[in-house]
Symmetry: C3
Subunit: 119 residues, 3 copies
């Protein structure tokens, strides 16, 4: 991450069962982020949601419990995130799924490589 440029967080919300070319979309997004050289990525799974379809996804009904939401967070420079979002939009269109992508500015107070990996 270029410390001098404005940093931000990209959040990508998709369904955990959404597929692209038969593979889980959220995993392919993480692999694409790593391939593109993004600084990092953290994925969280939710317990309840609704999106543009307004159908509520919940764990409490067995038939719906396999389509929980996932949120993918990527922190990097706003410039890199904005470019990467173009690629993610393409992937989400290819998978014919909806979803949400948001971008917020923030300040990075620490971004370090752990001892184990230092040269």
């Amino acid at each position: 991450m270029k410390i001098e440029s404005q940093a931000g967080i990209l959040k990508i919300y998709v369904g955990e069962s959404d597929k692209i070319h038969g593979r889980p979309l959220f995993e392919e997004i993480v692999f694409e982020a790593r391939k593109t050289g993004m600084a990092g990525t953290t994925v969280f799974k939710g317990i309840m949601s609704f999106g543009a379809s307004h159908s509520v996804h919940t764990m409490k009904i067995f038939a719906l419990s396999s389509d929980m939401p996932v949120a993918i967070e990527i922190v990097d420079s706003v410039e890199k995130l904005t470019n990467f979002a173009v690629r993610i939009n393409e992937m989400m269109d290819e998978s014919q799924k909806g979803g949400l992508i948001t971008l917020q500015k923030l300040d990075v107070l620490r971004y370090e490589v752990g001892q184990k990996y230092r040269k």
Copy 2:
């Protein structure tokens, strides 16, 4: 979501066992968001927390493991979110629970309906 107006994310933190009229508060908030016409909602469950009471909630002690925190995220226009927060404050007062509500500005880079639901 009106693309022309400033977008934001509302985050509502409550305990998973908090009740309103005998029902789980976080679920009632999600249903209220859908009824009010909010663009969407995603709920995450946490593994450890403390709030205004300063009692630590953790999964590692059986007696406390049923009161994990939940965070409800709603992305929409700042105007709709601000109005909706007034309603959520009322619900949280009715349930006699504390909790936290925050609002952050952000930019929406994608908000699409999945193919399955398109007309």
Copy 3:
């Protein structure tokens, strides 16, 4: 939380198995936040990630499934959070782990003590 000063959210991302003096780092950070008088803390566990090492952590491979990411969220005044982040940076250096700390401004719309705890 001083309502008059600018509020923010500090997010600290570490691995769930990261240790400091033999104890889980993320738990020690929560205890430190409470000891320091932060307004509250909520911890979320993720399902997939990569950081500065670019090794992907995922639940789908048994050998890697014990090192899931955790994100610690603390909402308070920007001033208190900035000072607290100095302490967290020290703890993360002591544990010889990398990780990420970010700070975003936001507005607090509610921060209340539940009925159970009111004097």
